[in-house]
Amino acid sequence: MTITQSVTKPPALRDERLIKRNPFQKLLARPEVGALVGAIVLFVFFASVSQTFIQPNAFATVLYGSSTIGIMAVGVSLLMIGGEFDLSTGVAVISSALTASMFSWYFSMNVWVGVVLALVVSLGIGFINGWILMKTKLPSFIVTLATFLMLTGLNLGLTRMIGGGVSSPSISDMDGYQAARAVFASSVKIGGVDVNNTVFIWIALVAVASWVLLRTKVGNWIFAVGGDANAARAVGVPVKATKIGLFMAVGFCGWVLGMHNLFAFDAVQSGEGVGNEFLYIIAAVIGGCLLTGGYGSAVGGAIGAFIFGMANKGIVYAQWNPDWFKFFLGLMLLLATIVNLIVKRRADASKG
């Protein structure tokens, strides 16, 4: 038994068995590449069929439309990489907006109080989703479907009980409204074009999420809990905390979008939001996030949202019948999922 450690030669800088991949090939291995190609194709397509589509004003509108999906897609993408998904996001956005407006209106308080309370509620909804999931070990589909139904009922019921109508009362004349509107729902002029604040919030969220995902411990854990929760637990990753945290991150994104919805119009319809959760999931899936978890990127979700925004507005600019929009969306989803499947098979392929 030798005790001395054999001195190892320093690892060679380049391994001759590795074919040097050019940047293009490296790009091809990224999760969002399918979506990127799709986005470029779609952009070129709409640009060629419609003159208005590439005009700055129209493009700002496309970006705005994309951002309202994209802000949520950031959280939903992270959650999906973490191996779960959330069906309550669409109505949770409205719950957040209703909380802020009803609370400030009923107690005649500064709207910022309502905004902060809405943040607490949104994070709370995320926490409850995650906590029930971890406690019961039920599939996230069931748990969040239940939350979705309950929130839908609460939105309608409480709004009627407190405000006496189906929409929240207008809060446009209340203290702090203008300031809050300036933060969540105003626009900035760039080169003569109004770009909505949500676009910048969206980009900032994507940047933060990407950094967290790729360059922090927590990011490593997110990939791990989605890829194999048991393996992650066995090496000491706090699986429960990570998953609950992800649901809360989705809650945070829901709060941001909820505040935008509220301050863009000063009132919220209590029955809104149903069905939107699928748009966020679609954006994440088109962007290369694997439904089974463990693979994907925040940038992918953003590209997915951008594709959604382009298709949504592009059809209008091309002066087509918008009835066809859902068909294209379904087709894109199918193609994207097939691409993802191929990616996963390739990654799983063991050499024996």
Binding site: I3, T216, A347, D348
Partner: protein, 308 residues
Amino acid sequence: MSANQIDQQQLLKDEKDPLTHTPVHLLSLESVGKHYGSIVALTDVTMAVDNGRVTCVLGDNGAGKSTLIKIIAGLHQHDEGVLKVMGEERKFSSPRDALDVGIATVYQDLAVVPLMPIWRNFFLGSELTTGFGPFKKLDVQTMKDVTKKELADMGIDLRDVEQPIGQLSGGERQCVAIARAVYFGAKVLILDEPTAALGVKQSGVVLRYILQARDRGLGVIFITHNPHHAFPVGDRFLLLKRGKSIGYYDKKDITLDELTAQMAGGAELAELAHELEQLGGHGDVVKEVQAEVAHTSESLKEDSPRHV
């Protein structure tokens, strides 16, 4: 190389005969038992693990091997008996607890996340970071370099630590898992059936890594149902059957044949031979099994192995 591993090397040098002369065992179990509700999974198991020694746990499917390692690894708690680490009584409430005292487990399914790069898997749960506060980020370059170096030390020359670990072969993945445990200062390394899903050559490779881990001064618990894998590397052998210990031997007190016989059980082998004959099994096979029966019952009669 972390400091506590050097300590272990030092400890090893001073030892005269670690099997009998260590003041305390690195890890020891005394009459440990476990039941799940009304099902008794394990009763009265006694074993010990020391620095630089390999303790093999042998048993067929359902013998209680998994329950035993789950207790040591902190996934389950024992109901009876005493588990001691360096002579101190312990009961682990989570895998983290066990890891903190230096007990690392390489599971059958390896506890790796197939879609993640090798270096991310290597450091999963114990990531290196640089920077402060909210700007604390992963030290990616160091982690990649360490992964490459540690694996090279174990004799695995990897092409690219950036490739998903799912693309490695079973043996290579096993080695990454072992190298990971060694690097993070494991004192006791539990290997759960590392050779079960591997071919002959790959198994040989993994057995070599077990010896390498041993030579680095780790106490190794090697779980297997294959005496041919256990015997060449083991220093002690614990045989389990239906949740009970049916033998605990030093290597010098037992031969491979005896070990095999104990594992299979002479009577059961005879029964199998009979059954094969009745089924009209191939003549040669039946003869072979009968020969084995005769051989093992003989060697058992000659000198029944002494219990440790």
